[in-house]
């Protein structure tokens, strides 16, 4: 176990040095953005080497921070370069994108509901993202926001149940699991609206 850890540490430091040098010589901003993702992979590798439940607990927020950081940096880059409203000459047109979404999205959403909790929400959210990306969307943001607001309230309420009536812990866990499922799904599905439209 300790030997694995040390070998991994050696590899991680080697990779970090390589990534650092390539970062230093890079002048193009978009290339730098791609290298940022490489740096985040290195960081996750370091954490994963711990190999316990602690590592898992640290990786999850690390991933969330990574993706939000990338999204923010990408938007800043688009605004800075003045290419915000650019439409690509030809949008991606693949036949599978027309036929697959309904069945694939429904499988993902059903499996996500079966999993429940945070990871279930992520899986179901991926299904919704996939559907919205492929099929386009109408403006229903108010509905999504309302649902996710009520889910938030239910999540907090579940914690109060757990604190005030500890004997009802099972009910509280179920409410919290369902609420976080809806919350994560709603938030993730917003990402699906990024394709094509210049006004979102």
């Amino acid at each position: 176990m300790i030997e694995t850890f040390h070998t991994g540490m050696f590899a991680a430091s080697l990779c970090i040095i390589i990534a650092f040098f390539s970062f230093m010589k890079e002048t193009d901003d978009l290339h730098r953005l791609l290298l940022t993702d490489l740096a985040s992979v290195m960081a996750l590798f370091l954490i994963a080497l711990v190999g316990t439940d602690l590592a898992e607990a640290l990786i999850l927020p690390g991933l969330v921070v990574t993706i939000s950081k990338l999204m923010a940096l990408a938007e800043i880059y688009l605004v800075k370069e003045g290419i915000w409203g650019n439409q690509p000459a030809r949008t991606l047109d693949i036949e599978v994108l027309q036929s697959a979404p309904a069945i694939l999205a429904s499988i993902l959403v059903l499996y996500g509901i079966f999993l429940s909790g945070f990871s279930g929400g992520a899986v179901a959210g991926l299904g919704v993202i996939f559907y919205i990306i492929c099929k386009g969307h109408q403006e229903r943001f108010e509905l999504i926001e309302t649902v996710s607001g009520y889910a938030w309230v239910a999540w907090i309420g579940a914690f109060f149940i757990m604190l005030i009536f500890p004997s009802q812990w099972f009910l509280a866990v179920m409410i919290a699991g369902g609420a976080i499922l809806i919350k994560v799904t709603a938030k993730l599905s917003l990402i699906g609206t990024m394709r094509g439209e210049s006004d979102v």
Partner: protein, 79 residues
Amino acid sequence: MSPEFIIGFGLIILGTVATAWPSPKDYITRLINLELPAFGILLVMLSFDETLALLTFIAVTAISTFLFVRVIEKKEARK
């Protein structure tokens, strides 16, 4: 050391080199090479039984690839 760890470990080192100095130096090549260390870290997580982290990493990788493709699309559209 399990075989998953050794393969993942090799993929991470090779993938880092490939991403740091991609051969035709353009965005798409770098983005595709970025998948190599990502796959390596998946194998490392697999060898340590970190299920939740693995699943979330897959989801986040899909979203970030989509994000990069969108930015590259807009960047190329100007030329």
